[in-house]
Subunit: 616 residues, 2 copies
């Protein structure tokens, strides 16, 4: 195990109050390492420390000073642990004092994980300004919507000014065009002022294809494994102690110096580690030390598509101890149920029965043979609470990986949008919305980049064309990811909120979120207090949830036809809480608020209804 | 999870009592599969079953019939699940009826794992005959020695007639030159008659470089991982269900049809599997079903060099459930302590302190930084009983991987051989001896092969030369692995037993083994009832073990000098049970059988002494 100081970054440039800056870098390949300050031409050698580390102290550099490293007197390279790249990825790094920011959130207490209602957003396209400041201006909207946490897509410095964030190459440096480190600190502070938790998406499974200097410093990569991005990050091969430390200290920095409440760890299935202590487990342990020390709760949420319960099992029970994981399978089952064709990874999903299984068992594949993968897939999620799982009806991936980046608002009817929203928000899992879905945004969320190298630009363009060659229809064109228009066209169109239908959808979301927060049968993600019935031929799903004496009955009609189903509501009398076809949501139903005791329900096409037992 | 019938092989050729033979093969690449019988020219098509399997029944083939498969009417290939390759690896397979053998071991009850005293042997070089029959002729010797289990190096069909066994390519087919399937069944039956358990070494982590036809049938390999042998066996990629089944059914066959008592799984660290159910765990589960069904206990012993407690942790506690694992670190620490230079993997071992740690903690590296690996290595073995670990002072690898294949008998003094033997046999782990060490065999155990392809022969020769280029001394030559002499020179020289010194060493081993079996403080591999003290400057180690009121004190002097040490033996009086320098072991000490109450002991150079409390 690495020895980690949870209270301080050891890597990179750390200015002290005395006007000196301490430098430390891992450069096991080098025979000499010097710090170079290009603004003054100063140059001073670092001292060789144990196991490939180099360190030194200088009074020549202060917060704001640009610097880089020279290895063996030859290269001028930015710092792998750079906190800022003011002149771009290939320019010098910049010394930053992260303790400069004046926090006002000392009263903030992290939201309990079970109460997370997550709103995923991309800083560049969420607001007209496309930065943290623009984002901050929209916090009132989010607060009003009722969500409890925002999830910010990756902000580590990436090539150019337009990127989803997954091409980042300096995991410690906040993208300059978003507002840099201070901008992010200010945003988190403002979120806490608004009572919102902040989840930051971080990428520890690969680096972007441009501007990556790490392999000049040391064995950050290993040939032991292959991943979609080439050789894997070295978490278990020779030299891996330092690589692990590099990421662990990054994790701690976001929590400690940026007051982030949770991290969303991208594609953790691609973090290959066959050592006895998986890197995720070590991250968990170190983050727990920090939590114990700070008194603040820090959550770790993994994206992982292995249906392997080990990721979300506590470390004491042989697991990696992640607090929660994304489950794409809920999404896939839901989308097939709502009419998506069964191509690609949807091939494994049969629609409403799999949606019922997702409600019941979290993992749809928990050991069965998966035709798409051509192997048995998954393990059982039995015994794991609902708050271990994050569900959604769309997210950046499933929207943006479509050729035309259509959001749900452009793919399904207005009525079906309301049914999808309900499915996610009444689930016994943590719901996640993708920015704009709450009012049915019509703009696409396209794949966009701003690469600098012409060859890479060409390769990305052609790769995208190849990917969609089979799908392009007469008169269509694969949007150019490098074009600024792809980015501009992906921005939210906030003017839609003035439109009656979009405003109604927003109110509908607000109402549902309000129910989720106030009705105990909904607010407790308790998978054991739940039953699901399916009327397969009618495409109707019936979900019951309860907590104590509070009972909720939800009926979803995913079909395009009116359907009548026999449902045993028991002896209680029931109140209709929500009908997605009500006039107030611009549906075409009456608004029947009276007490119900239904045994047979007739549901209009594409409808959601929710009942609550009357004696609560 | 695969559905496995624990009572029958589904793969390969299975003759029935009615004179028909059922064929089944996994060939997902093929569009047609036919069975061809070269002796008669018969040819019949198999029927396509689910998921790439093909099957059919024929009255044309019986036990003894030669056969092969034709894929898409083009290749004639032996069966991946062949039970016999009578004409060599590239010849046809042969139908076998494994139920023909008349077992007489119905009264046999497997030895409890904690009582395993293991003797590793190589069938080809153990006896003059070099086969199972020759081996059987030596069982009386082994019984007399006192060991309780023999471990047979791999017997799966390999190229030619001389091989350690790790170049096998037909995991189901017993090497013809050893005596084939019937020969092995007869041997196991004879072992059980002698009261000896049988451990079979099996290789599930790679195939040999010659004669492997599996990749013509299906995706047995994956590019996801790199191993020392190239791409890894596919345990978790597309198609892996069938590959897993292929190895699981192999495991079950050895237990069920050959009455083997334990398997030693070679190099399990190279069985790469990042799925939710590690292949070792699934093997464990299926073997447990078989045990429950048969009423016989079946053990799984893994070779693994990861110091990862997961391998030997029960499946219910998040582990893979192996019964035991080899620990090379005990060997490495012991060899450095006894004078081996610290080159290669020995560099990590400092001698006697690490030996003490191996006694205390099983794993020497349980999380510390390992310079040789350049990373932190290992996890804690706390709480795992001693019977989870197999230790040795030499084995086929550490002997045979030396350029000249010298056994311990040629590397250390006669006196030190006795000290090494004691270290292993009084340890709280399962001891393993390598054939011949019990009488100090002088012949080497060289690396030998009998490859058929000239290019491969040349490559292996040159690889071996390259490997040892830095070690060859004036007048020495790297032995030619392909030369028959390398094999012949590696055979045990049983005539040595007529020599007084070798005979004395054998009696010494017998005596120690007898103690281990009869003294409860030694026979219980209880790691919690143990203490170790080290006199580092004197190279003396003091080990106490106890069980109930039975106490044992062992003192080892690894130095070449007489050493006096102060040892607190407590108030008890003690009997000297064993002194390796006694005259009966051809040492030069008196034979002091009187009662001791020593607090200061003077030890001759290279000595082992063992005391027992007198009141037992």
């Amino acid at each position: 195990m690495n020895s980690i100081d949870i209270n301080h970054r050891s890597l990179g440039a750390s200015p002290s109050a005395e006007g000196q800056t301490h430098f430390q870098v891992w450069a096991p390949y080098a025979n000499s390492v010097a710090v170079v300050l290009p603004e003054t031409g100063e140059r001073f050698a670092l001292k060789r420390l144990d196991r490939g580390y180099w360190g030194g102290l200088s009074a020549k550099a202060q917060s704001g000073t640009r610097y880089g490293y020279e290895l063996d007197g030859e290269n001028f390279l930015p710092d792998p642990a750079s906190l800022a790249q003011p002149d771009g990825l290939s320019g010098p790094s910049q010394v930053k004092d992260l303790s400069d920011f004046q926090w006002t959130d000392s009263a903030w207490v992290n939201t309990p994980l079970k109460d997370f209602i997550i709103y995923e957003l991309h800083t560049g396209t969420f607001s007209p300004e496309g930065n943290f400041q623009g984002l901050e201006a929209k916090l009132a909207h989010l607060k009003q919507l009722g969500i409890t946490a925002i999830e910010i897509m990756p902000v580590a410095s990436f090539p150019g000014e337009r990127n989803w964030g997954y091409d980042g190459v300096f995991p410690y440096a906040v993208q300059e065009s978003y507002g840099g480190a201070e901008g992010l600190q200010k945003l988190v502070n403002a979120c806490h002022d608004h009572g919102l938790a902040v989840i930051l998406d971080v990428v520890y499974n690969h680096f972007g294809p441009e501007g990556n200097v790490l392999d000049k410093f040391g064995p950050y990569f290993t040939e032991k494994y292959h991943t979609p991005w080439g050789s894997a990050i070295n978490f278990d091969d020779a030299g891996s102690d330092a690589v692990r430390k590099y990421f662990i200290e990054n994790t701690l920095m976001w929590f400690r110096d940026f007051h982030v409440d949770a991290l969303r760890l991208d594609a953790t299935h691609a973090m290959k580690d066959l050592g006895p202590v998986h890197i995720l487990k070590e991250i968990r342990q170190q983050v727990d030390f920090l939590s114990a020390n700070s008194g603040r709760q820090h959550y770790l949420i993994a994206e992982v598509d292995l249906n392997d319960n080990r990721y979300i099992t506590p470390t004491g029970e042989g697991g990696y101890g992640m607090d929660a994981q994304w489950i794409d399978e809920f999404h896939h089952a839901l989308r097939v149920t709502s009419g998506n064709d069964r191509s690609g990874y949807y091939a494994d999903f049969d629609g409403i029965n799999h949606l019922a299984k997702a409600f019941r068992d979290a993992y749809v594949y928990d050991g069965q043979y998966s035709p798409h993968r051509d192997k048995s897939f998954g393990s059982s999620a039995e015994g794991l609470p609902g708050e271990r799982f994050v569900v959604f009806s769309q997210n950046h991936d499933h929207v943006g990986n479509r050729m035309l980046g259509e959001r749900t608002g452009n793919l399904v009817s207005f009525e079906m949008q309301k049914v999808l929203a309900a499915t996610v928000l009444v689930s016994p899992y943590l719901p996640l919305l993708f920015m704009g879905e709450e009012y049915g945004e019509k703009n696409p969320f396209l794949y966009f980049v701003d690469h600098q190298g012409p060859e890479l630009i060409q390769a990305v363009r052609e790769g995208r064309k190849r990917e969609f060659a089979a799908f392009v229809r007469e008169g269509e064109e694969v949007p150019d990811p490098q074009a600024e228009s792809s980015f501009q066209n992906s921005k939210l169109n906030w003017k839609l909120l003035k439109n009656k239908q979009h405003a109604a959808l927003l109110r509908y979301y607000q109402k549902l979120i309000g129910f989720r927060k106030t009705i105990s049968a909904l607010s407790h993600p308790d998978r054991s207090a739940l039953s699901v019935d399916v009327f397969e031929a009618k495409q109707v799903l019936f979900l019951s949830r309860w907590h104590g004496s509070d009972y909720i009955r939800c009926v979803f009609n995913f079909s395009g036809k009116e359907e009548s189903v026999q449902i045993d509501f028991g002896a209680d009398s029931w109140k209709l809480l929500m009908n997605s076809r009500e006039k107030q949501w611009l549906g075409n139903s009456e608004n029947p608020k009276e007490i119900y005791q239904p045994n047979s329900i007739t549901l209009p096409p594409e409808t959601f209804m929710m009942f609550r037992n009357d004696h609560v």
